[in-house]
């Protein structure tokens, strides 16, 4: 079937992009001046010791050969070892990834729950004061930095009212309820800012759709104004909204580091900052690769969503002559 062929095509494009990106990441980080042996042995290492370690780590091999070795390792789930602790990098990343995905996933779901109805409302009431109020509120939300929102939430709900914990992370697998309680404030602070941005795009998408000819047709056959938007506007507006959601998600995997710091959540962004500061090259390399893979995966999901929503992308042209 045509749809499955298109999906396969998207998947193939995903794999190729991932390979190209991994090569780029590897080359960039390995061609930088200074190498990992200096980090491991310190600045006072003897040239002989450096040379010995270099050959032991395979650093004297041609860069492409090293890339192939690294890639073969990655394919087997071996992302390398930390330059400092010698721990396998995969074991370091996976728990942090779980934190970041919990934070970003939940935050974006909450942002959508807030922003989709609010944006639709603002579009339907574009000429009324109520619609303008939504817009003004979102402006305010965009002006507040995420960390400030986080700090205020901690001060009010954790320090003052003592309703919720101020930070730290509890794995979902150890206690789901506690996981949830610990993430409420981070989710809210993420959702307030992201939701404020999203509201404007949702409003814009619906305004755009409401001006389309097919909405006038829908009204002319007897749909009432709001039901016409529901029936014929939703799918069409979703095309635009999905694009923005994809972009927001992609930037948040690193961007959430601010929230991670406020709420002492050991996420991927925090780990990346720490490994960059410590010049732990194998770790940086692995984290960047994971982030690239995540972002490519989001793009893949957005592409698939397009295919599901828009029949023009999944069906051929002129069938009937």
């Amino acid at each position: 079937m045509r749809l499955s062929r298109l999906l396969l095509g998207r998947l193939a494009a995903f794999v190729v992009s991932l390979l190209v990106a991994s090569l780029a990441v590897f080359l960039l980080l390995n061609l930088l001046p200074g190498d990992v042996t200096a980090v491991i042995l310190g600045n006072n290492a003897t040239p002989a010791a450096v040379a010995h370690l270099r050959s032991a780590m395979g650093l004297d091999d041609p860069v492409l050969l090293r890339y192939v070795h690294w890639l073969a390792g990655v394919a087997h789930g071996n992302l390398g070892a930390s330059a400092f602790t010698g721990e396998p990098v995969a074991g370091l990343i996976v728990p942090k990834l779980a934190v970041t995905i919990s934070l970003v996933g939940g935050g974006m779901v909450l942002a959508m729950v807030l922003a989709l109805p609010a944006g639709l409302f603002a579009a339907l009431h574009r000429r009324q004061a109520s619609g303008q109020m939504v817009l003004a509120t979102s402006q305010l939300g965009m002006a507040v930095p995420a960390f400030l929102a986080g700090i205020v939430l901690v001060v009010v709900f954790a320090a003052r009212l003592r309703w919720l914990p101020a930070g730290n992370y509890v794995p979902l697998t150890s206690d789901p309820l506690d996981w949830f309680r610990h993430l409420i404030l981070p989710w809210v602070s993420l959702a307030l800012v992201q939701g404020a941005v999203l509201v404007r795009y949702v409003r814009g998408a619906f305004l755009d759709v409401m001006d389309q000819d097919y909405m006038r047709t829908a009204r002319s056959i007897g749909w009432r104004r709001r039901r016409a938007v529901w029936r014929h506007g939703l799918r069409n507006a979703a095309l635009q909204i999905v694009t923005v959601l994809g972009l927001q998600l992609a930037t948040l995997f690193v961007g959430a580091v601010v929230i991670e710091n406020v709420f002492v959540l050991p996420g991927l962004g925090s780990l990346l900052l720490r490994s960059v500061n410590g010049r732990d090259l194998p770790l940086v390399q692995a984290i960047v690769l994971v982030l690239v893979a995540l972002i490519l995966m989001i793009n893949l999901l957005v592409d698939v969503a397009y295919l599901v929503i828009d029949p023009r992308l999944r069906t051929g042209r002129a069938v009937v002559e």
């Binding site: 000429r127 047709t217 002319s220 007897g222 029949p311 069906t315 002129a318």
Partner: protein
């Protein structure tokens, strides 16, 4: 129809003005009046910006928010100006329908044609219980028969291979086919009035002739009245027997087609008739333009 006395026209427009933008801005439609009786077909002709489409949208109640409508539009005696969305929606698509100019964008691109046509039925099926009684089935049964009705109406407007058309998405059909689908939607519930706003302007000439012929046949079949908007006298004459000429928001001339074409009274109409008859111009001479007919007449131009 039997509950309405014969004397009450289907549609009576009186003192209708439409103003876009701020109140006090120059109106697009200025104090127009006309009546349309059951089964009558009137052409409404005029250049771009003369207020034709604004008139049509005002009758359908589909002008955007913030557009000021003054005057009266009576539908079988009842006032439509200021009517609520709910009551208007019961009328639209059922007794009063409309076909728009641009078929390429007039259908929802994410939904199959068949489902969109079925909506016309579905939206009004409860109120068409009388219909159901006539066919000896309940309203629920009408809903069950939607697919057959959809295919039937697509065939009636002359579309080929109706099963495939119903299962197609709009982008898979040509402009002419899409316009026929939209005409089918407009005729489906046997309306009393069909408003057509330049329905063939976006189509090429051969398709235009076919669509006009099928529209004409469809209107006759359901016995609907028609208000046919165009800037093209030749197109109007294929569907209508009477015509109104609109210029700068006013109706400047009206009458039977023969009368208006034979002895145009308003300079704009004279220009329109002459520019339509380019066959009469000797080869080598300049073609007439509307402006030629304004010599010494400033009356209609003041705005």
């Amino acid at each position: 129809m039997s509950d309405v006395p014969e004397a009450v026209p289907l549609l009576a427009v009186d003192g209708l003005s439409v103003t876009f933008g701020r109140a006090g801005a120059s109106p697009a439609v200025r104090d127009i009046a006309f009546t349309l009786s059951s089964g009558e077909r009137w052409g409404l002709i005029g250049e771009s910006g003369s207020g034709k489409s604004a008139t049509a949208l005002a009758i359908m109640g589909l002008l955007p928010e913030g557009v000021h409508v003054h005057g009266s539009v009576r539908w079988r005696g009842g006032e439509l100006v200021g009517l609520g969305d709910a009551a208007y929606s019961r009328l639209r698509g059922d007794a009063m329908t409309m076909v728009f100019q641009e078929p390429m964008t007039a259908l929802d691109p994410t939904m199959t044609v068949g489902r969109q046509v079925a909506e016309v039925l579905r939206l009004h099926y409860v109120r068409r219980a009388a219909d159901a009684q006539r066919y000896g089935v309940g309203p629920e049964r009408i809903r069950g028969h939607a697919r057959e009705r959809v295919l039937g109406v697509l065939a009636e407007v002359g579309l080929p291979d109706v099963e495939r058309i119903a299962d197609s998405f709009p982008h898979q059909l040509s402009g002419g086919q899409r316009q026929l689908v939209l005409i089918g939607m407009a005729l489906m519930n046997s309306p009393l009035l069909v408003i057509c706003d330049e329905p063939t302007t976006a189509l090429d000439v051969t398709v235009q002739a076919t669509v006009l012929r099928l529209l004409d046949a469809g209107l006759s079949a359901v016995g609907a009245a028609c208000l046919f908007i165009s800037h093209d006298l030749a197109v109007v004459s294929q569907v209508c027997s009477q015509v109104m000429v609109m210029y700068q928001g006013r109706i400047v001339e009206r009458g039977s087609l023969a009368q208006v074409l034979g002895a145009p009274a308003h300079p704009y109409t004279r220009g329109l008739v002459a520019t339509a008859a380019i066959d009469a111009v000797p080869p080598g001479e300049r073609l007439p333009v509307i402006g030629d007919f304004w010599a010494g007449e400033d009356g209609g131009r003041d705005g």
